[in-house]
Symmetry: C2
Subunit: 426 residues, 2 copies
């Protein structure tokens, strides 16, 4: 067989790992941005601890020395199985011999997409920068009104979703608000600030052991976070959110609940689950297509316990490596052994020197888990350079409580007017 042309859709953890593991094929990697984002640290950009450049890396630079990989920045509109091409917004269609579909996911609003404008999520760098700006503007606004009018002006942040992202956001916001921002806003009173973490299920971090969930809740409560468990969000408006029977007034709602796979998957004509993910076979292919794979958040892939694997980086990376291996060796369907996920443990950080970790039956919490979290994340980062930058940023933040990336850019006059009109709802 000739040299194969492998097209990979998406430069996240899955697509990137697959591309890096392919050396015998010609690879085209398509992404709608020009960079890979280290998603587990996005919440640190949203809370101004890190700059976008600290946790993102241009895809072209990552593949400088891997000459068989071509990078195309474009939006994929559809996948055409008949003609064996992917159709793009700005370029000609690209033909493939093998296709790896790894477009990731957006947040799920459970049928209420209209909630997104009031409760934005945190999946891309654009999300993170917009969230950072919105949060900083909320502080500016509260300070301005308190200072000029003396009127008490409660500043409430509501985070929906008690998984790792929600817990990390709540912890980081509590620290930012109570320690870093305090001295900068002399007119704001700390009792004006409240951070509410909402989880529909009975406990935080449902993927972790119940003991670690309880420790997480206790630590967040000590940091001043109000935790509301057991009721789903039933309404989101520009001026607040309804949780069960309770109305929480807030113009700063952040969505960290649930995933909805990329709508691109609908063009694949393959069976999907209720979250839009492709129901893949044991070798991560779609039915009747031995050379079309779906991985990462796009794949509904059952784990050893019969439940779908979680939407986390290690799953996507192991899948990317597995698929690359099949392609490199040109394995026929009969020769393939099924994909098996190796669970290497879970980590979630709560705040300064506080985290929880779970490795099989071993549970760790407190500063030890936090140090583990730092080490894992630092060494997971793709290049030495970013590792160095993030380490120095964190060192600075840890020592001084001065987050380094608190910039609100000037906006054109029109955009500002829109934004102050939005504020009129407050």
């Amino acid at each position: 067989m000739d040299r194969k042309h492998v097209v990979i859709i998406g430069g996240g953890f899955g697509g990137l790992t697959a591309a890096r593991s392919l050396h015998q094929a010609d690879v085209t990697l398509i992404d709608r941005t020009n960079h890979h984002v280290f998603q587990p640290l996005l919440y640190q950009v949203a809370t101004a601890a890190l700059s976008p450049g600290d946790i993102a890396w241009p895809l072209r630079t990552l593949f400088r020395s891997q000459r068989n990989v071509r990078v195309v920045m474009d939006d994929v509109l559809s996948i055409d199985r008949m003609d064996r091409v992917v159709r793009l917004q700005a370029s000609e269609p690209i033909a493939f011999d093998c296709l790896i579909v790894a477009p990731g996911s957006r947040h799920a609003y459970f049928g209420h997409d209209e909630w997104e404008s009031s409760a934005p999520g945190l999946k891309t760098m654009t999300d993170a920068v917009q969230l950072r700006e919105k949060m900083l503007l909320a502080f500016e606004d509260a300070e301005r009104r308190r200072g000029l009018t003396g009127i008490q002006n409660p500043l409430t942040f509501v985070i929906v979703g008690g998984g790792p992202t929600g817990v990390e956001l709540a912890g980081a916001l509590a620290e930012l608000g109570r320690k870093a921002m305090g001295p900068d806003y002399p007119d704001l009173r700390l009792e004006d600030l409240s951070i509410v973490l909402v989880e529909a299920g009975p406990r935080l971090l449902p993927g972790f052991d119940a003991e670690l969930s309880a420790k997480t809740a206790a630590a967040l409560t000590r940091m001043g976070v109000l935790i509301k468990l057991g009721n789903p969000v039933s309404a989101v408006h520009a001026d607040g959110v309804r949780v069960g029977q309770e109305w929480i007034p807030s113009t700063n709602v952040i969505w960290a609940a649930g995933n909805r796979a990329s709508p691109l998957l609908n063009t694949l004509s393959a069976p999907q689950d209720s979250f839009g993910r492709i129901k893949i076979r044991a070798d991560l292919t779609i039915p009747n297509e031995p050379w079309i794979f779906a991985i990462g958040d796009a794949a509904h892939c059952l784990g050893g316990d019969g439940k779908p694997l979680p939407a986390i980086a290690p799953v996507a990376m192991q899948q990317g490596r597995y698929v690359a291996d099949l392609i490199e060796h040109g394995l026929s369907e009969a020769q393939r052994s099924p994909f098996i996920y190796k669970d290497r443990g879970m980590l979630a950080t709560i705040g300064r020197a506080q985290a929880v970790a779970q490795f099989g039956s071993i549970h760790v919490s407190g500063i030890l888990a936090w140090l583990l979290w730092c080490i894992v994340h630092i060494f997971f980062l793709i290049s030495f350079r970013n590792r160095f930058r993030v380490m120095s940023e964190w060192g600075w933040y840890y020592l001084t409580f001065q987050p380094g990336a608190r910039l609100i850019f000037e906006r054109p006059a029109r955009a500002r007017n829109v934004s102050s009109a939005d504020c009129a709802h407050e």
Copy 2:
């Protein structure tokens, strides 16, 4: 007299220096963003060598330990001399005893404001980030079309204005294009890339000695920059620019020519020059107003040679310090000695290890001037922290030729469509 309330409009070099020098008065510093920008290095953000956070610092943090300064983030709509208040977009009017007007300037399009959309300038962080994105997208676009269609697709950057900003931009773009970007765009040929620097006058860097202008032109030519002198731009369109009789096709025109003072000054009812600057008196006040000052780019202030002082940071900073001194000492008009600018020399960088410097009759060029430039800019930076960051960034870039901030954020679908419609003109 009671403790005075000093209102400062603008957190640039002039306003910031004034606020930092005032300790006996209550100060309100108003800016439309939340940060001070180190403008002389903006071109490095625009060319992806530095991240926005490297050269910007939140105003609130700068005044953490100076408790007499209050920071307000808002747009100033007008200055009311009768009622002694400034009127703001989002807040109540603020009354003042003394007023320091330092709102900076925008680029001047010589009566052709419609050129701005095709030839954006570089004054704010938003400008820099947008320019960076536009430039990176142009590379992506040229690569995509070259790779997919094989069609030669010239990539031309035109920089209008041969002052320090234009020279620095041209040099940085030439380096980025020819050295840093080359390996990342395997399908792009270097001969497709051209960088044109247009100056209406007879030589580059008109503020410098003619000998240094010639050295600058020679250095840029060696780096592959095409220099066009002696003809003004007579038309700018989305698909090119007319210089004298010549039409240069380009969708990447950058404006670095001329200043136009802030339109806010028009509300001051004071005499203005043709660039909109306030014609101030020898003590930097406006006529009949001993406690209203205009400084920096907002002021038409004559130097020892009878010509207006240039729109550069040292002028604004010396003026800020002078005004703060008058206010601190409560000097009546009769007690004031006129403002005198102390020229400490001029520097402009051309590229890696190349710069020109002029201190009175002493002229320096080449690597010595470049080292001087580095030292001056590093130590000029406001905080130790940014100094450290910028040094490590530059060290990395110098050693590896990999600029660290080449991120194109994902845009919403609508914005992307608009942008590809724009590209259709290319």
